[in-house]
């Protein structure tokens, strides 16, 4: 209905200009709009002032030793990693930085942000610093810091207010530019802080690597399609963690004598893989089942007799590939993908056994994982490993087969019913009981196993929610198209279910990140333990425990808070529930 053709008397007007309301009006409206609210405001203000004063008295007390933190930076991040091998750690950081830079080029930085908001943020930060600085004048000590707070705060506030006057109309500025400025300021801070020697340049290089690879990403992006680019980067991210932790940081060196006995056989197996896949995909249903039965038998038998571990694992992998072939590799295209996946997976496995078993490394010279590095390994590794296990448990719990269902339910409910610390103790104290005498895993590995087992149960419940959200029509439609149960699950049900539960999975990952701090109880040197036990027991920083705990709280908070914000944005972009 086009109403434009009618000459209605009144034309739309712009909304009345919201003239900036004075702070008195604002306070009357938001703080004193009723007797109750007025009283509440007064009580809260008084309480807040008391709290801030107490906090400042704590922070600026002469007993506090904030100055011990910068010299202990390496302890926080890597703990006991041999200092002469620190170059490995820098290399790991630069790899992450490079990938981050390329990713920003490919995915973008989140577009534009309103200038007025940036200016308001600057003004708010300045005002807060100024108020805190002035209030801190009532606390015992703190000389230089107070000066910085008062004058810096005043300067920022002034800049903010001035900019507010200047920037009248709504204008956008790219998030990338804001982040670049903040990053530059941080690099400046690195040069100002009394860090351990030999850290300022590598940190500066890290920042430069991010910027440089941002441009590299842009350049390469002109040649590659955006889709391919994103795929490549994703694969690189996935590969980066095993490469960093298993190779760069462990710094292994191969001992040839250990591997010569089984290496030819492993090569033969990898070469035979494509032939097996070819045969199984071409053969009839029953012949394929026969081959698979044979492979499975040999594979199980190999664990009973004394075969080298690498051969056992490779054989098991080949059996799994062969089992999946009749269902998923019918078309030539899919078969080609199978060949390539087999070759890549086989070579990776081979590499793992070459470097992981028959080699000396830092691990044999003493533990090499600690600090934030260990926390990140446990969080990322736990998330990655618990994902397949959790999905399997969820499928088991929703399966129509009662024994699978009962086993899954028992596992999930038992694990969810006990605290994580008991699972960690189980891993630490009971797993060695099950192993032949004298054999034990590293504490880090056992903790990772325990965290994975624990997280998988929670993840399974999240995925189950997604599976139940997939409508029955979808499964009926795929049945009607003649899909097998495995095809239906992998191609139809799971992809839809996982998309629905992405926010819940991110929430689970954040919870897992926070939970990694519990490994401090079973004696691993993670970030919390460094802050609670290791730094406060150094001769130079004896007894600085509350300061260090506050630092730990701040670092954990920054990680968890930024992830939860990112997850919120993701949720909004996916429009979960709206599509």
């Amino acid at each position: 209905m086009s109403a434009e053709s009618f000459d209605l008397p009144l034309q739309p007007e712009p909304p009345p200009k919201v003239h900036r309301i004075g702070w008195l009006d604002w306070a009357r409206k938001n703080l004193f709009n009723s007797v109750f609210n007025g009283t509440l405001t007064m009580v809260l203000t008084a309480g807040l002032l008391l709290l801030i004063l107490a906090l400042l008295r704590f922070v600026f007390s002469p007993d506090r030793r904030w100055e011990v933190m910068p010299p202990n930076a390496a302890n926080y991040v890597v703990e006991a990693y041999p200092r002469e091998d620190l170059a490995n750690m820098w290399l790991s950081l630069w790899i992450i930085a490079a990938l981050a830079g390329v990713s920003t080029a490919s995915w973008g930085m989140g577009g534009q942000v309103s200038v007025i908001k940036v200016v308001a943020a600057v003004r708010a930060i300045g005002a807060t610093a100024l108020v805190v600085g002035v209030l801190s004048l009532w606390s015992p000590a703190g000389g230089a810091t107070q000066t910085v707070l008062v004058w810096g705060g005043a300067a920022l506030f002034g800049v903010g207010v001035g900019a507010t006057r200047l920037v009248q109309e709504e204008r956008g500025v790219s998030v990338a530019r804001v982040l670049a400025i903040v990053g530059a300021l941080l690099v400046g801070l690195v040069w100002y802080m009394p860090l351990e020697s030999g850290t300022t340049w590598p940190l500066t290089i890290t920042a430069l690597v991010v910027v440089a690879f941002h441009w590299v990403g842009k350049l390469v992006g002109q040649w590659l399609s955006a889709r391919l680019m994103k795929r490549v980067i994703t694969v690189l991210w996935v590969l980066s963690f095993p490469v960093i932790y298993l190779h760069i940081q462990r710094n292994p060196s191969l001992v040839w004598g250990e591997v010569t006995s089984w290496l030819p056989w492993a090569g033969l197996l990898i070469a035979a893989g494509p032939a097996v896949i070819w045969v199984v995909s071409r053969a009839g249903r029953e012949q394929a089942a026969g081959v698979n039965f044979l492979l499975g038998g040999v594979s199980i038998y190999s664990w009973v007799i004394q075969w080298p571990m690498a051969i056992r694992v490779l054989f098991l992998l080949l059996t799994l590939f062969s089992l999946a072939t009749p269902t998923f590799a019918a078309s030539p295209r899919a078969r080609r993908a199978f060949y390539w996946t087999w070759l890549a997976g086989g070579l990776c496995t081979l590499y793992f056994f070459l470097m992981g078993i028959g080699s000396t490394d830092l691990a044999t010279r003493g533990h090499f994982l600690g600090g934030i590095n260990l926390t990140i390994l446990l969080a990322v590794g736990g998330t990655a490993l618990s994902f397949p296990l959790g999905v399997m448990l969820a499928l088991g719990r929703t399966s129509s087969m009662p024994i699978f269902r009962i086993l899954s339910i028992v596992y999930i409910e038992v694990v969810r019913g006990v605290p994580l610390i008991t699972v960690l103790f189980f891993g630490d104290k009971v797993i060695p009981r099950f192993l032949p005498p004298g054999l034990d895993f590293a504490g880090e590995a056992k903790a990772l196993l325990a965290i994975t087992a624990f997280s998988a149960a929670y993840l399974a419940e999240n995925v189950r929610g997604g599976l139940q959200a997939v409508s029955k029509g979808q499964t009926e439609a795929s049945r009607a198209l003649g899909m097998t149960t495995a095809q239906m699950t992998m191609l139809i049900t799971l992809p839809q279910a996982l998309r629905v539960v992405i926010p819940a999975l991110v929430g689970q990952a954040i919870a897992l990140f926070k939970d990694t701090s519990l490994v401090a109880i079973i004696g691993l040197a993670d970030f919390l333990r460094v802050a609670r036990d290791i730094v406060p027991n150094q001769p130079d920083s004896l007894g600085s425990i509350l300061e260090n705990l506050l630092l730990a709280a701040l670092v954990y908070w920054i990680f968890a808070f930024s992830f939860s914000r990112a997850s919120l944005r993701l949720e909004r972009r996916l429009g979960v529930g709206t599509r």
Binding site: V414, P419, I421, K429, L549
Partner: protein
């Protein structure tokens, strides 16, 4: 008729192509795999432990553990059982008081986040966003070290910020508290009767209200009935001593019956449960015309249920120890109750105590006259309470926001004020949404009390760790932990489910 196509008689597919058979073969195969793995591991573990001079028995519960606990009922437990009992009670103290406090704080903060007062809503947001993003362990450890390093040092003349009511020191926070006396249980019996009477009064008055259409004030009546019993019991509680005889009688009769009788009864119950499942399953498959044709799958299910029932019965008959533990616990509980009742006891059931300092040796201590939180208790309690409160606040906020906007518009259009609207329209509806995740948070809080180990608070996990460091019985301790925490989880989820079902909206 002649050219009707003839159908060959249906043939059953060969076994290796029969979908049902394959399904069940896979399942039973996996089940056997899991059982085999379990038995191999247990065998390996037993062998390993024998090599180290350990064994998988339960002596740790009866032997003197030779450990000392930080606080609780038995500081120097004479048996392992006493040690675990102390740990369990300590854990429950933290969990229950934490649940109450976290609920109150969480509800206030959650409502404050929606307040029209800018300052209140900002502060509530800061509370939530800061606390829930810091690991609870960091918070627990922080509060512990705060209490043990920044609180005032205890002097012989310390009297705390509020003399006689609250005493804050590095050795703990002590406050005034009404302590139950030895006659408390007898009074408690009166309170139980009072509760039942109150319930009865409420229902009767409610029925009267529905019949006559007038306000019969059922709540007031119920409260008065309860208070009347409470006051009566305060003075007349020795009468409840008669209950002691009852418990004594019960305990004696439980002990008099031989274990084999219980075994047979329980085994029969197990068989009956299996049979009942099969029976109901058949009933559900019965079509109006008679028995429906059962698939192979259905037969496998029924066999599984029957096997479970028979297996349970077999275990009960072959292992008298399992039944014996059950009857012993029951008998112990009854005897415990028996000891709490006696005609001859007198005095008030509750007595007020206030904090004070004593100097037994060279150093001042907090005397046992008030209720005292040690720094360890303070750390774990503050940590889990505030952490959980931040999650409860989000749940409360989400629940309130889940009530449709039309509800508050209708309330405003009727002239209700904001407070009235919240209390009578929004909160009762939000409550239904809030309840299930709230129960989850209670579970999380209970499990997080296990972090007491990081601040040397003797709850279940800390006691267990101290025990296995002494004896090396890790597997047994882990099993005890599992049994304990699983029972707590089960209890909370049963309670929450019960209330959840009662709170469901009536729909068409």
């Amino acid at each position: 008729m002649a050219n009707r196509p003839s159908l060959a008689a249906p043939t059953r597919p060969p076994l290796w192509r029969n979908a049902t058979f394959l399904k069940w073969a896979a399942q039973i195969g996996v089940l056997f795999g899991v059982l085999a793995l379990g038995s191999v591991l247990i065998g390996e573990a037993t062998a390993n432990m024998r090599a180290q001079g350990l064994s998988l028995d339960w002596d740790l519960l009866t032997d003197p553990p030779g450990i000392q606990l930080g606080e609780g009922i038995f500081i120097k437990p004479s048996t392992g059982l006493e040690a675990f009992y102390t740990g369990a009670v300590n854990m429950l103290r933290v969990a229950l008081s934490g649940i109450v406090a976290a609920t109150v704080v969480g509800a206030i903060v959650g409502i404050a986040r929606l307040s029209s007062n800018w300052l209140a809503s900002r502060l509530a947001t800061v509370f939530v966003e800061s606390l829930r993003n810091i690991p609870v362990l960091v918070q627990v450890v922080f509060w512990f070290f705060l209490a043990s390093t920044l609180f005032p040092i205890l002097e012989a003349d310390s009297s705390g910020p509020i003399p006689g009511v609250l005493l804050v020191s590095r050795k703990g926070v002590s406050f005034a508290w009404p302590f139950p006396q030895e006659t408390f249980w007898q009074w408690g019996a009166f309170l139980v009767v009072g509760l039942l009477t109150a319930r009865w009064a409420y229902r009767t008055r409610m029925r009267r209200a529905e019949a006559l259409g007038e306000d019969t004030r059922p709540g007031t009546w119920a409260l008065l009935a309860f208070l009347a019993w409470a006051v009566l019991g305060w003075f007349a509680h020795p009468l409840a001593g008669a209950l002691g005889w009852l418990f004594m009688l019960l305990a004696a009769s439980v002990g008099a019956v031989p274990v084999s009788v219980y075994q047979v009864v329980l085994a029969l119950v197990s068989l009956y449960l299996g049979w009942r499942w099969i029976h109901r399953f058949l009933e559900s498959r019965r079509s109006p015309a008679g028995l429906a044709k059962l698939t192979d799958d259905d037969y496998f299910r029924m066999i599984l249920a029957g096997a479970l029932g028979a297996g349970g019965a077999a275990v009960l008959m072959l292992l008298p120890a399992a039944t014996e533990v059950g009857t012993n616990v029951l008998q112990y509980l009854l005897e415990f109750c028996d000891q709490k009742f006696d005609f001859l006891r007198s005095g008030a059931p509750l007595a007020m105590g206030s904090p004070s300092v004593e100097v037994p040796g060279r150093f001042p201590q907090i005397a046992g006259t008030g209720l005292t939180m040690t720094p360890s208790f303070f750390g774990i309690w503050m940590g889990v309470t505030l952490y959980t409160a931040s999650f409860i606040a989000e749940i409360v906020r989400g629940g309130i926001l889940s009530v449709p906007k039309g509800q508050s518009e209708a309330g405003y259009a009727l002239g209700l004020r904001r407070g009235q609207l919240l209390r009578m329209v929004i909160l009762p509806q939000a409550f239904r949404v809030i309840l299930p995740p709230l129960g989850n948070q209670y579970l999380n809080l209970s499990k997080n009390t296990s972090l007491g180990i990081a601040v040397a608070f003797p709850e279940m996990v800390q006691v267990g760790q101290t025990m296995f460091n002494q004896t090396g019985d890790t597997i047994q301790v882990i099993l005890i932990w599992m049994a304990f925490y699983l029972s707590i989880s089960l209890l909370i989820s049963v309670l929450i489910n019960y209330y959840n079902r009662r709170a469901q909206l009536v729909e068409r």
